[in-house]
């Protein structure tokens, strides 16, 4: 048996890493959000609440709203696409499972930006899809497949899908299959067995996956830029702009802090809802 002290020490490198490179910059951002922007874009170290007051402009509220809608849609679509895939993989033989999991993860080996541009080449007006459809005579004019909200959503789901598939796969793997057999023995249809046994038992995977996908999509700015033609800004793009062309670091910091608090709140609510659902089920 390990005694406790050395075990604690094992966490030190990670804690130092997070403390130096995550907590400290986060605190600096929080601090920065209470300062002023100087005329030439420098930070003026005078206390102000103006940055937070500016966020009440309905314009930013709308963009926060749009961002939430996109993030929630991305999460839902990822569940719809990711769950069946994870289910399928978990039912394969061990050796093919490894191949499939590898295939799910391979996109991570390629730079994110490069993958986004690959989609541009596939979807643009003289791209792969339009060229094929045109040569088959199915369309005469190229379809506008890119630079709209649909292509942004496609890009988001494509990018974040592995974050959904992997946790669901793990929870499916850990599931006690005997319970499923019991359900069948008691006369459940496959659908009923899935709904009452498999789904509740893999809830942890869905919850973990949802949070990973949701949090990643809420701050996303590359996909709307590359696949959305930079036309519909999400809050990530607005924040990026504050640090670049607007040279307003304090306002950008304030927006980041609000975004962070908002996602924390939503995750909390989500956990609550899941817990409440469990309690209800237990009572029933």
């Amino acid at each position: 048996m390990l005694n406790k002290k050395p075990v604690k020490l094992l966490a030190v490198p990670a804690l130092l890493w997070l403390g130096l490179l995550f907590v400290l910059p986060m605190l600096l951002i929080a601090l920065l959000s209470f300062f002023k922007r100087g005329t030439y874009g420098q930070v003026v170290y005078e206390f102000t609440l103006n940055n937070y007051i500016r966020i009440w402009d309905p314009l930013y509220g709308q963009i926060f709203g749009d961002t939430l809608v996109v993030a929630i849609l991305t999460t839902l679509l990822s569940i719809v696409c990711g769950y069946p895939l994870a289910y399928y993989i978990s039912r394969l033989e061990k050796s093919s499972q490894q191949i499939w999991l590898l295939l799910v993860m391979i996109p991570f080996w390629i730079n994110f930006l490069v993958r986004s541009y690959a989609w541009v080449i596939i979807l643009r007006s003289q791209g792969v899809v339009n060229t094929i459809l045109q040569s088959l005579g199915l369309i005469t004019e190229p379809l506008p497949l890119l630079y709209n909200s649909g292509s942004v959503l496609l890009g988001m789901v494509y990018t974040l899908l592995p974050f959904m598939v992997l946790p669901i796969y793990v929870s499916l793997e850990q599931m006690d299959r005997r319970k499923l057999e019991a359900a069948y023995d008691l006369g459940a249809t496959p659908w009923k067995a899935f709904w009452h046994v498999t789904l509740p038992m893999t809830k942890t995977g869905v919850v973990t996956g949802s949070i990973l996908v949701f949090v990643s999509s809420i701050g996303m700015f590359v996909v709307p830029d590359v696949m959305g033609g930079a036309k519909s800004a999400l809050i990530g793009n607005v924040i990026q702009n504050q640090f670049l062309s607007a040279r307003d670091w304090p306002f950008g910091s304030a927006l980041s802090i609000v975004l962070m608090l908002l996602s924390m709140l939503l995750i909390l609510l989500y956990f609550r809802a899941v817990k409440a659902g469990e309690a209800k089920e237990g009572a029933a």
């Binding site: 005329t39 007006s125 033609g229 930079a230 519909s232 800004a233 670049l244 062309s245």
Partner: protein, 350 residues
Amino acid sequence: MKRFKSMMIGALTAVLALTAVGCSSSEQEQQVLNIYSWADNFDPEVIKDFEQKYNVKVNYDIYGSNEEMLAKIQAGASGYDLIQPSDYMVATMIQLGLLEELNKENIPNMKNIVSTFKTPPFDKENKYSLVYTWGITGIAYNKKYVKEAPTSWSDLWNEEYKGRVILLNDPREVMGMALIKNGYSNSTTNKEELEKSFADLKKMLPGVMAFDTDNIKQKMIAEEAWIGTVWSGDAAIINGQNPDVEYVIPKEGATIWADTLAIPKGAKHKDLAEKFINYLMDPEVSVKNYESIGYSNPNEQAYSLHSEEYRSNKMIFLDKADIDRAEWLVDVGDTLQEYDRYWTEMKSGR
């Protein structure tokens, strides 16, 4: 301005790495010049020649935007001797006290610069900066789809090109264009002028295919976009790969921009940086350099030395009349917040 030529970075780094290895033996007495600049902004051979001629070593680091460079220089002790801020950024850096005054005795070749660039509004006496590359934001259009050559910015509003218009992904450039179209200065701080121009710009929005700066060239070459706001230098590159794409500077005028050569405050090798600037402005060196990077040479003494091909390219060799009609973007101070608010509103799609 904001050019991401990241593909070239690899090649360039390789070249510089080789040069670095070749020179390491005599490192002790050798002076080092640390450049912080845009990707692909010098002919690698010109740098090599300079290293050999003066027995020095050149390090070349790259940034992708003025703001990135500013942040690094502001943080202090960057160790750089030579930077290349764009026009408006020069003004900002002067205000923030981040640039060294140039010692003109070390740069006799600066007399070669064409008179237009001897008195730029962002640094009127060339005290801190010298124009290195420059261009004008005009209209690039594909004559296969745009049958009638555009003459005015209002052609971007033409319903026929709906969904095929591309704009630079830059608030100052786009707002500046709308301001010029409406007869105002591209750097106005007048709120009514801004409001009116923005309302006009909003009418065009449904026709815009995308905002893009880094890949605008690809979108024009691949004929995804038919018409749009493009820098003259980029237009030259597009035209080289798709001859159907032409370039015009609209009658209302346009925005002119430049990347400069400047020395950050506290540079350790200021003399050497000045020596390098002087070297770049030698007529023969400049011919080699600018034909390689494909941008407009501001060196008057070099014009006659350039190849026929380079000289006859009207996207590189812009008309004097066009240059005179063009206007610089200048820092708008606190009004930048208004520009950004409009920009965000436009991007929110409402």
